[in-house]
Each structure stands twice: as C-alpha cells, then as structure tokens.
Amino acid sequence: DAGVTQSPTHLIKTRGQQVTLRCSPKSGHDTVSWYQQALGQGPQFIFQYYEEEERQRGNFPDRFSGHQFPNYSSELNVNALLLGDSALYLCASSFGQGRNTIYFGEGSWLTVV
C-alpha cells in the first residue's frame, strides 16, 4: 500500500521564479492538504483540496495556489518566490475532508536563493 508520495524531494529556485510541487495521496484517500514547515517550527496549514476544489485556506497569500485532479493527486504552485518561502512543504492526505487520521508524505525541500 503506497503511502503519500511527493515530488521533487529537493529543489532550488531563484527569487521571483515559480515552482510546482506534486503529491499523490495514500491509496483510498480523497482529500489532500498542504503545509509549510519553516526550519525549527511546526507545520503551518496552507490549504485543503477535496472534490477538486479548495475547501479551506490558511493565512497564506494568493501567490500560493493549488489544484486537485480527478485521481485525487494535487499540485501546489508558488509564484513570485521570496527568500522566506524557503521551507519544507508537506503534503498530507486523508479520507472524507480530513475528519479522520491524516498521513503525511516525506516533503519537498524548497530553497529560494
């Protein structure tokens, strides 16, 4: 049973560029959430996708956007990258809009230079 998978594992981008991160949920899960974890801090909720729509959003600017595909996989897009966007981006999946246990992927390390 494949768990939550994310790609790429690591990437380096230049300030002002755009980045796309990808996530495949755990088998049987239909809900995907994204979190940003800065060094030394707990993860912060970015947004949640269910039935291909953004259902909840945390306190993140519109530069952060996402998408969910019919197969439940998801993308996180960040435009106009800032140095402060450097972080570990975690994808989490669950069943039924997250009113169940939430499982995480290994994360994508983004460094903005």
Partner: protein
Amino acid sequence: AQTVTQSQPEMSVQEAETVTLSCTYDTSESDYYLFWYKQPPSRQMILVIRQEAYKQQNATENRFSVNFQKAAKSFSLKISDSQLGDAAMYFCAFLSYNQGGKLIFGQGTELSVKP
C-alpha cells in the same frame, strides 16, 4: 482560534527509561481530535497516537500512551522503555471536527535519548 502549546523545546531521557512530553491546547469546540506526530531527521511526519475528544479512555499504542485531560485541555505523551530510535522532534496537533483537515501544530519538543 485554536492554539496548541508545547512548553518544552527540548527533553532528554535515558535509554529504557520513561519520559513525558507536555501539550496544552485552547479551543471552544467540543468535537475534535488530538494527535502526536514524530518527525525524525528524515523530516517525514509519522503518526504516533491519536485521541478522540469524546472518548474518556486514554489512547495507547505499544510503548506510547497519552494522558488526556479534557477539562484542563491537556494532552501529554508518555513514552515507556525509551529506545534510541525514539529520538526525534515530537509535535502535538489539534484537529477540529468542523474544520476537518486543518491540523494545528504546536512548536515541537526535541527528544534526545541517551544510551
């Protein structure tokens, strides 16, 4: 808004001993879940234990158990017979039933295990 507080940035335990990590939270809701996640150096967030707020019985998973005090809004994690592989960052997290999917994390407690 809900908040989660872990007041112990670092903890240390001797191998085979018992350690307790503290967590308090603030919410006005009655239906919610609480979790402890472990994050080793690989940075993957691994679920350790889960507690439903409506259950009075404390959750247990092998060497891991919780002390859930709903009235006091306290949710501590006890690790018995500590092993070297338990060394990691531990996060307490809150999940509202009404805001499913939006985990709210504490700041984390870094646990070291001494041989």
